[in-house]
Symmetry: C2
Subunit: 349 residues, 2 copies
Amino acid sequence: MPANVLAHPHVDPRRGQVDATDVILTGDRPTGSLHLGHYAGSLRSRLALQGRCAQTLLIADLQALTDSSGRAADVARHVSEVALDYLAVGIDPALTTIAVQSRLSALAELTVLYLNLVTVARLERNPTVKAEVELRGFERDIPAGFLCYPVSQAADITAFRATLVPVGDDQLPMIEQTNEIVRRVNRLAGVSVLPECRSLLSSTPRLPGIDGRKASKSLGNAIPLSATADEIRRLVRAMYTDAGHVRASDPGRVEGNVVFAYLDAFDPDPATVSELKERYQVGGLGDLALKRRLEGVLEALIAPIRARRAELGGDRAYVMDVLRAGSARAGATTEAVLRDVRGAFALDA
Amino acid sequence: MPANVLAHPHVDPRRGQVDATDVILTGDRPTGSLHLGHYAGSLRSRLALQGRCAQTLLIADLQALTDSSGRAADVARHVSEVALDYLAVGIDPALTTIAVQSRLSALAELTVLYLNLVTVARLERNPTVKAEVELRGFERDIPAGFLCYPVSQAADITAFRATLVPVGDDQLPMIEQTNEIVRRVNRLAGVSVLPECRSLLSSTPRLPGIDGRKASKSLGNAIPLSATADEIRRLVRAMYTDAGHVRASDPGRVEGNVVFAYLDAFDPDPATVSELKERYQVGGLGDLALKRRLEGVLEALIAPIRARRAELGGDRAYVMDVLRAGSARAGATTEAVLRDVRGAFALDA
């Protein structure tokens, strides 16, 4: 595990919220390789939490299919890419379970059972579903799987008896939906078979793409965790700063300046970043000097990740073994939960 | 197997439609014991088809939960009641597989995968779903599982690679929905992994309840397959005939006359039934004489079923064994289909 990763100062500061008995479930849809936005937004927290309580990373390939069933082969390929990214940043499979959603048949069974506990109207009111439907332009042609995906998420969360789920503000309705289902299952069972879960809200602002827009692999505006030194230089040089900041002597804007957003996220010396912001706003600090500093910061962060990725990339059998072992461990957990939930529905175990 | 059952003249006459290579999937929701309406409408056909091609009877407990999750214990109890009814009428587990839906995890996995291939708008347009939503008064509070149940049915049908599905007119949209999913899976796979299915339409008119309304256990207007001779007499005596037929000498109506509906369905001597209809319409045939004839016919039909039911009812372990063995055989079939469908979605087998 690259030592610099865990020693990094920007780990999630709200350690006090997490208890040793907590069970964390989180993960990613395998729709592309991970980038620095994922690192700042979630991977860093996962590293910080690793070993402090039970943690499972679920590679949500079935969920990726809910809006990409036509790109199934792509999704399949990205399962091992995402696993490789996890291992490269320092996720240790001895401390964190890495599992593949589609290998856990209990999740589908829980989903089908939970669909009986939620009305269509309730799903349609889910703000996250509403927003995503708009974003993807589905309108009335929403795949049924997409409408039902809050139920599938509830299946994922409860299948691990997760108590803590890292989310962004926009995903809070998912937690509420999950807890509604938990209460209904417990009422059916007459005893508490599932725990309610809490959200672990990220305080990190979303890292923008190099053009200031939302980072996305398809826009080519994200910096991949596997970027070479040359790619880092090229992408940092292309970063949006302040269109009004033409000469180094001009006063510049810090807000909306992508270089400062990245320095805030990754520079291990925040005091110096504060000084640089002051000098930039007054005038007398050129973009190139700033970008050179950021290049150094990102190269220091990414170089060990890149090296470990290259090493593991040459040993795909190891990555496959990690997924197999993690999914087997997760399978035992989720099957046990399924037995309890089936009991609540008076189905034999 | 009671010999009189297979020898009965009213078996499904459209034998020509069924091929020895056909695979039939059918079944029942375990929401109550079966009655004469089930016998006339489906059980008799199943007996006639038994041994002529592969046939599976699925006891659809998960589907029963889509509108009865609050009555889960009731559903669970009726699983073995329905199995007992099957065995009592002469279903032979060596010739017909009897399986429990909730024991086949592949069905839930197929459902979740298929949900990605169907839009919400398409499900809402399904006339069967529309009709059932009205019937049950769900309006906007439809459980999501209920909206999705055509997808669950498609999972059931395809999981057995069924080619022939006995349905009523009102269920034809289900077959169409299933074949749409089949074509999408085959297109994703690039080869034909699932067969399309045909409907086996019943030509038998629906048997009314004794009051002329739709037969239903909850209305108490159905004659159970387990009825005693006394119950048969009581229910037949209470049958609706013709309110205008007061004296035996009055002319009477045959249409809408429940006694004639039952004689049409079950009397082994249709020529005599025709004569009786003529006499009844002219006048001179009393209701009591007719009802006595029907009592005899029904007692002859039900007595061996009742005897076999009593015999098996004392050996619940045997019924459980039948369900266990049938579900295991069905499990092997459905898991093999799931592997093929997962392949179509580029998920590892």
